[in-house]
């Protein structure tokens, strides 16, 4: 009887979240303009100023237009729809076509561009905005904004509203966060970056423009589920880095996590590297790692040693608050009162 009552309570609680699943909603994320970067190698950036934009934005301090890329992650990448997007800017000289929203398929074979945004000049306040409508973008594609920023212009923020009918935190729906490669950056001081350009590849990729030398990048992620449900320790369901070319070695890209206090540092086992000679692309893949071993609030980044002329198209991370170990599944399966319970506790 106790079991039935508590089980019923559990079902009732779950039922309270089901209605959201039935309709879908817009999941909005707002990025600071400081996340944007100039096109071309960063060593040539002699003009951007975050300090003149409240530390949250980016300002073109130059006297001429400068191109910038603003990478945006997809947090509900399994759906094929972007409900809305906005870029808020400041200054004079902005025109209707100065900002666009572009996308790239997960195999990097197809480029997309969102319909032309509505441009609101807001002339009296000098705060123009670009408002993008609903856009159909394939699942697991990446997207980024690109803007031609007029002299002294500022990008204050940009925003993407993803479609979702997912239930946040539901065990069977741990989302895969996909970040465009243009969010990576040169491993060393940016002033020494003579190698990486985020502009090509539809603004979603990062390319080593050097013709004969490797260079390293770091690709930071945001962790949205940094605390495990069982004893606070969590797992990684999967990680991936997608790149151009087939001349990579499995050790060229690595996945790192560091505890909040730095006492625990984790580097993932060597990735599984698969190559597609038809599309001339490769993927580094990590599957079910660190079963319940990631300390709470740890942070994560990828690093890659990029061969000359190669792109990083995207990187992705599926966090999981559960224990993914085989031991967990075995234990749960043996206790068969609730068949299938292991899928909730031992899988993402």
């Amino acid at each position: 009887m106790t079991i039935s009552k508590t089980g019923l309570a559990g079902v009732a609680l779950l039922a309270t979240v089901v209605p959201l699943d039935a309709f879908g909603y817009t999941l909005s994320r707002v990025y600071a303009g400081a996340d944007c970067r100039v096109t071309g190698v960063q060593a040539n950036d002699t003009y951007t100023q975050h300090s003149f934009a409240g530390m949250t934005g980016i300002r073109n301090g130059d006297t001429v237009y400068r191109s910038m890329v603003c990478p945006a992650a997809r947090f509900r990448s399994q759906y094929s729809k972007v409900n809305s997007a906005v870029v808020n800017v400041a200054g004079t000289g902005w025109t209707a076509l100065d900002c666009s929203l572009t996308g790239t398929s997960q195999d990097a074979q197809t480029y997309y561009t969102a319909p032309t945004p509505t441009f609101k000049a807001n002339t009296s306040k000098g705060t123009p905005e670009y408002i993008f409508g609903t856009w159909s973008l394939p699942a697991y594609a990446t997207h980024a904004f690109r803007c031609a920023v007029p002299a002294r212009g500022v990008i204050h923020k940009y925003e993407v509203g993803e479609y979702s009918n997912d239930v946040v935190g539901a065990p069977e729906h741990w989302p895969v966060t996909i970040t465009p490669g243009s969010a990576c950056k040169f491993y060393g001081p940016q002033g020494a970056d003579e190698s990486f350009d985020p502009w090509g590849g539809n603004a979603t990729g990062m390319r080593n423009v050097l013709s004969s030398e490797r260079r390293s990048v770091v690709c930071p992620s945001v962790r949205m589920y940094p605390v495990g449900i069982l004893n606070n320790y969590s797992s990684i369901g999967q990680g991936a880095v997608n790149v151009s070319g087939t001349d990579w070695s499995p050790v060229d890209c690595n996945l790192h996590l560091t505890a909040w206090d730095g006492l625990t540092t984790l580097t993932a086992p060597t990735a599984t590297l698969t190559s597609n000679s038809t599309t001339s692309t490769s993927q580094f893949f990590w599957d079910d790692i660190w079963h319940g071993q990631i300390p709470p609030y740890a942070n994560q980044a990828y690093t890659c040693s990029v061969p000359p002329r190669r792109w990083i198209y995207k990187y992705e991370l599926q966090e999981c608050a559960y224990d993914l170990s085989a031991e967990c599944q075995e234990k749960m399966d043996v206790e068969d009162d609730f068949p299938g319970v292991a899928q909730y506790w031992c899988h993402c």
């Binding site: 808020n88 500022v154 923020k157």
Partner: protein, 170 residues
């Protein structure tokens, strides 16, 4: 066996609570964290002038390798932009020579018309680990404002990570 069943059933109930709680079915407030590696920070001026911020510390941290203080901005992604509630901010760094005014939590309204800085953070130090932490308390920002941390990075010190927690009250 019965104990095991009850235990696991309660486990399931906890699971249901864990699932429902983020949506506020039970609790009055739901807080969503975002944890960023220090490498997400960047020099606050033209990037060509950055000759000192290097990646390291298990490849997730950023170090000011210069002998002088240098400024960084550390942008965030707001996950509940329609709310006005920053529940907390945290920044973890190496060293013990930081002062409370070295790091700020900044907000700019969506149209850039209003720029605000959160009240000064609490600064705590761990002399054993030789680390410091800035912690910002609850702070009200405008809906759809952007948020970024900034620091006068001390010479030779690391920015390990930073974290922004946003909350929604039901």
């Amino acid at each position: 066996m019965r104990t095991a069943r009850i235990f696991r059933t309660r486990f399931l109930l906890l699971a249901a609570v864990a699932v429902a709680a983020p949506l506020g079915a039970l609790a009055g407030t739901y807080t969503e964290p975002g944890v960023y590696p220090g490498t997400s920070c960047k020099y606050y001026g033209p990037q060509s002038e950055d000759t000192f911020f290097t990646t390291g510390g298990n490849n997730t941290a950023l170090r000011n390798s210069d002998a002088a203080i240098q400024g960084v901005t550390c942008p965030t992604i707001r996950t509940m932009p329609g709310e006005n509630n920053v529940r907390y901010g945290k920044m973890d760094l190496s060293g013990l020579r930081w002062t409370t005014t070295d790091c700020d939590l900044n907000s700019t309204s969506y149209d850039g018309q209003t720029k605000t800085v959160a009240p000064t953070a609490a600064l705590t130090s761990d002399t054993t680990l030789v680390t410091s932490r800035f912690t910002w308390a609850r702070w009200s920002v405008e809906p759809y404002a952007s948020v970024a941390f900034s620091c006068n990075a001390q010479p030779r010190e690391w920015i390990f990570r930073y974290e922004l927690g946003e909350s929604k009250t039901y």
